[in-house]
């Protein structure tokens, strides 16, 4: 296992790896997902922690996916679990910005609504 390309770098609120970046814009309370995410389930742990931490800090949060060209099924699974966690927490105000021109988003983002009816999904 000498392949280290998917190993993330950067701080806890700015996770970078080859071809992707996930970072939190604190003033705007917006979590940005950019590039192509093709990590294994365990490799999503830092992002999962970031999502969790941000959610615990404040119930108001925006996820910007418009620059995320691809998210594999493990990543989608992570988003589903995040939605369920948010529902369990209650009183959240989460908005997801996506793009209908990116195939995976049209297919998977609507599911978030099933796990978290209060979520707002804006596709442009």
């Amino acid at each position: 296992m000498t392949d280290t390309t998917t190993r993330p770098t950067g701080s806890e609120t700015d996770i970078k790896g080859p071809g992707y970046r996930v970072w939190f814009d604190l003033p705007a309370r917006t979590l940005h997902f950019e590039g192509v995410l093709r990590l294994s389930t365990s490799e999503y742990k830092p992002i999962e922690d970031l999502l969790d931490g941000v959610l615990q800090a404040s119930p108001t949060l925006a996820l910007r996916m418009t620059e995320l060209q691809f998210l594999n099924s493990s990543g989608i699974n992570m988003l589903y679990k995040f939605a369920i966690a948010a529902r369990k927490k209650g009183e959240t105000e989460i908005k997801v910005h996506g793009s209908s021109t990116i195939p995976w988003q049209g297919k998977s983002l609507p599911n978030l609504k099933k796990f978290l009816p209060a979520i707002v999904i804006a596709l442009d």
């Binding site: 296992m1 000498t2 192509v36 093709r38 294994s40 389930t41 365990s42 691809f70 594999n72 099924s73 493990s74 989608i76 699974n77 589903y80 679990k81 369920i84 195939p103 995976w104 297919k107 609507p110 599911n111 099933k114 796990f115």
Partner: protein, 786 residues
């Protein structure tokens, strides 16, 4: 290295040169623009001035000429007025002057020795008398039978002749002096129309030759029909009767029968003492030669000319070339009673512009500018002369006004303007050439300066470049010789300093490299040991993946089972990725129907493969338990998975769609990728499954989200199921295969058996992926209704 310097120098010279050319060009353009606008302003001013001046000149000239013409005409009229006044006095003072007239009639030189001419049957004074007196045949008494060939003049006619004997003194004198006159004469009133005319001529003889029949016709009616009636109408007009000058009457110009050229006759009637009866008229034949010559001789600009026309447009004075330009055609043979009238009418011109030229109706000078005559522009200036009484042929006496016209080619009037414009254009061209010459000269001077300065600058650069090149070849001993005081000098000093430092560092570096090499060798040994351990770990992981792959492929339906299915032609394909992705499909016979499932577990590796096994088992178990409710079926599968995931602590979920086929109807439950339906005719339908369920194994109860849709299949219809390993397969450029390519390959192959369609899909996807890594399991199930 020298090329570096020259390249820089070329650029430097180019930039400076282009800037200079642009600047000079702009300056030249600006000055040219100024010159051009100055030129056009000047020509406009010149044009206005010229037009004003030429109009002023033409107006003045025309008015002068008009005065001159009126003067020529008026002088004869004035002289006739004198004759009329004397004659009128002779009539008015008839009684008082009786002794004088009687004496005159008897006096030698004034006596009229009338002799009857038997051949002509008229009486006339013999040659040698101051005036010729002609008494026409009809003024004689009838012939006496005893004196054949001799007739006596009627006594009242003889008395009337005697009464004007004194005019023998006046007529020759007046004829010789003043205006150019052909003849002056007196003609008596009706019943006594004798003629007294100076100079002496065989008047009756000429008349016999020219006007046959005159001798027995009353004179006025024969020669000037209507003229006496016209005069008599003035008797009712006291104002005119008080002012004899207003009674002056002119004929239209005509050609003299006696061969004296163009003439016109002016008459002035005289009246009896009570001003109630017509008492004859004095007349003068005015030679128009002088007037016509004057008009013809007028030279206007180069080839301009003047003309004189009557009210009716008859042009009676014009030069031959003018007549030609005006396109006038002479109408011969027209006769105005006894005299021959000129006939050259403007309105009968060959030229349409002249035909349409209306004579002015006011007194002012009238400009027609431009008038296109025969393709050339002319300026036509017209002025009406003072009115006079005119008798023309048989018509009544009417006021007549002659029109004097000037016709000048516009080009000649504006000749100086054109010349001025040419001069301005020529001088603009001169300035342009000067400007270009100055620009080129300035360019040459500045370029030479830049060239010389740049040589010094680039020389330093070339040295520096050469020094840098030596350092690149590891010659750290190099130094440059740049000693100027400017920035180039500073650069040279800095370069030498840096070269010295590099040289010092290079020696240190060699020592450093030795130390580092030793460290690296130690690290390398550690890495080798680590690598050995990793290789063992990899072996373990590889074994694990191999197990997962085998598990996943093991539970797939064998072809034998698929071939036994009635009503459907089914083919399945699965190619696990290097790290297996947990794809699932199954085809199960169930009573008279078929149950088909396809799904995709998230993540990769052994855990995903195990979850796929769980799905396969759960579906198979429920199918064996004959669970018929598709929603419950899926919800139970979900619950089983959820609970197992919780127990085992897997971090996985899955998409799963279950299809039930029976009697041509395919029912779909659960959320997965779209199902592609290709109808027998090649048309494509895509069935979205997003709203038919949700991911399984993530929530304990998903019953609320489960729905069902159905598709009717006709024989030949094809349904293609697949996992995202196909649509998200990437080529070497990172582009995804996508559903459109899938639809297209299925559409092309849909008429073939399911196995062939499946193979076409697999081939197309693998060709698309090419050298790229296979990221995920590739799974497809092709169902075709038989």
């Amino acid at each position: 290295m020298a090329t570096t310097g020259s390249r820089f120098r070329t650029k430097f010279v180019l930039v400076a040169g282009v800037g200079l050319v642009i600047g000079l060009t702009l300056a030249a353009l600006a000055s040219l623009r100024g010159i051009s606008s100055l030129g056009s302003d000047a020509s406009e001013e010149i044009r206005k001035g010229l037009e004003r001046a030429s109009r002023e000149y033409l107006t003045n000239h025309l008015e002068d000429t008009a005065q001159r013409v009126e003067f020529l005409r008026g002088r004869a009229g004035a002289e006739l007025g004198v004759l009329a006044a004397v004659t009128q006095t002779l009539i008015d003072q008839q009684a008082a002057l009786a002794p004088l007239t009687a004496a005159a009639a008897a006096a030698g030189p004034l006596r009229d020795a009338l002799v009857y001419d038997a051949r002509g049957e008229w009486s006339q004074t013999p040659a040698g008398e101051p005036t010729a007196v002609a008494v026409w045949g009809y003024l004689h008494a009838p012939a006496a039978p005893n004196q054949p060939g001799l007739r006596d003049i009627k006594p009242e006619v003889r008395a009337a002749v005697a009464q004007t004997a004194l005019l023998d003194l006046l007529l020759p004198a007046q004829l010789q002096h003043g205006a150019e006159k052909q003849a002056m004469y007196f003609i008596g009133p009706e019943g006594a129309e004798y003629l007294r005319i100076a100079p002496y001529a065989d008047a009756a003889g000429h008349a016999d030759q020219l006007y046959p029949g005159h001798n027995n016709s009353p004179f006025w009616g024969f020669y000037f029909p209507g003229i006496v009636d016209g005069w008599k109408r003035w008797l009712a007009d006291p104002a005119r009767m008080r002012e004899p000058a207003t009674q002056l009457t002119g004929t239209a110009p005509y050609t003299d029968a006696g061969g004296s050229g163009a003439i016109m006759t002016l008459f002035q009637p005289v009246w009896d003492a009570t001003r109630t009866r017509f008492a004859g008229a004095v007349g003068v034949d005015v030679t128009l030669g002088q007037l016509i010559r004057y008009v013809q001789d007028l030279r206007l600009a180069g080839s301009g000319f003047a003309f004189l026309a009557q009210d009716n447009g008859n042009v009676f004075a014009v030069r031959d070339d003018g007549q030609n330009i005006l396109g006038l055609q002479e109408v011969r043979g027209a006769s105005g009673g006894g005299v021959d009238i000129f006939q050259r009418f403007l309105h009968q011109s060959r030229d349409p512009a002249i035909r349409a030229l209306a004579l002015p109706s006011g007194d002012a000078v009238d400009y027609r500018d431009p008038v296109a005559i025969g393709g050339q522009d002319y300026v036509v200036v017209l002025k009406r002369l003072a009115p006079f009484n005119a008798w023309s042929g048989s018509a009544d006496i009417v006021p007549e006004r002659w029109t004097l016209g000037f016709v000048v080619p516009a080009a000649e009037i504006y000749a100086s303007l054109h010349k001025a414009r040419d001069t301005i254009a020529a001088s603009s061209r001169g300035i342009l050439f000067n400007q270009i010459a100055i620009t080129l000269f300035a360019l040459a001077v500045v370029m030479l300066g830049i060239f010389l300065v740049s040589r010094r600058m680039t020389g330093a650069l070339v040295d520096l470049a050469a020094g840098a090149g030596k350092i690149a070849q590891k010659d750290y001993e190099v130094r440059v010789d740049v000693r100027s005081d400017d920035e180039f000098g500073a650069l040279g000093r800095a370069f030498n300093q840096m070269a010295a430092e590099i040289r010092a560092n290079t020696h240190d570096l060699e020592r450093l490299v030795e130390q580092r090499t030793a460290q690296l060798q130690r690290a390398s040994r550690e890495i080798m040991a680590l690598n050995e351990r990793l290789a063992q770990e990899n072996l373990r992981l590889g074994a694990e993946l191999d197990v997962a792959r085998r598990l996943q492929l093991m539970v797939l339906p064998p072809e034998r089972e698929l071939a036994e299915i009635e009503g459907l032609d089914v083919a399945g394909y699965m190619r696990p990725a290097d790290e297996v992705g947990g794809d699932y499909y199954d085809v199960l016979r169930a009573g008279d129907g078929v149950k088909i499932g396809i799904g995709d577990v998230t993540g990769h590796g052994l855990e995903s493969g195990v979850l796929m096994l769980m799905i396969q088992t759960a579906v198979r178990t429920l199918q064996a338990a004959e669970e018929r409710d598709a929603a419950r079926f899926l919800n139970i599968v979900n619950k089983v998975l959820y609970q197992n995931i919780q127990r085992v602590g897997l971090d996985r979920t899955a998409t799963l769609v279950l299809l039930d086929y029976a009697q041509g109807v395919l029912r779909l439950t659960g959320q997965h990728e779209e199902a592609v339906v290709v109808r027998q005719d090649g048309s494509i339908e895509r069935i979205d499954t997003i709203d038919l369920g949700m991911p399984v194994g993530i929530e304990v109860d998903i019953a609320a989200f489960i729905a069902r849709t159905e598709v009717r299949l006709s024989p030949g219809d094809v349904v293609v199921l697949y996992t995202d390993g196909i649509t998200e397969a990437e080529d070497i450029h990172g582009e995804q295969y996508g559903i459109d390519r899938l639809c297209e390959v299925v559409r092309r192959a849909h008429e073939r058996p399911a196995t062939d369609i499946k193979q076409a899909i697999v081939d197309d996807v693998m060709r698309f992926i090419g050298a790229q890594k296979v990221f995920d399991d590739i799974t497809t199930v092709v169902i075709k209704r038989r």
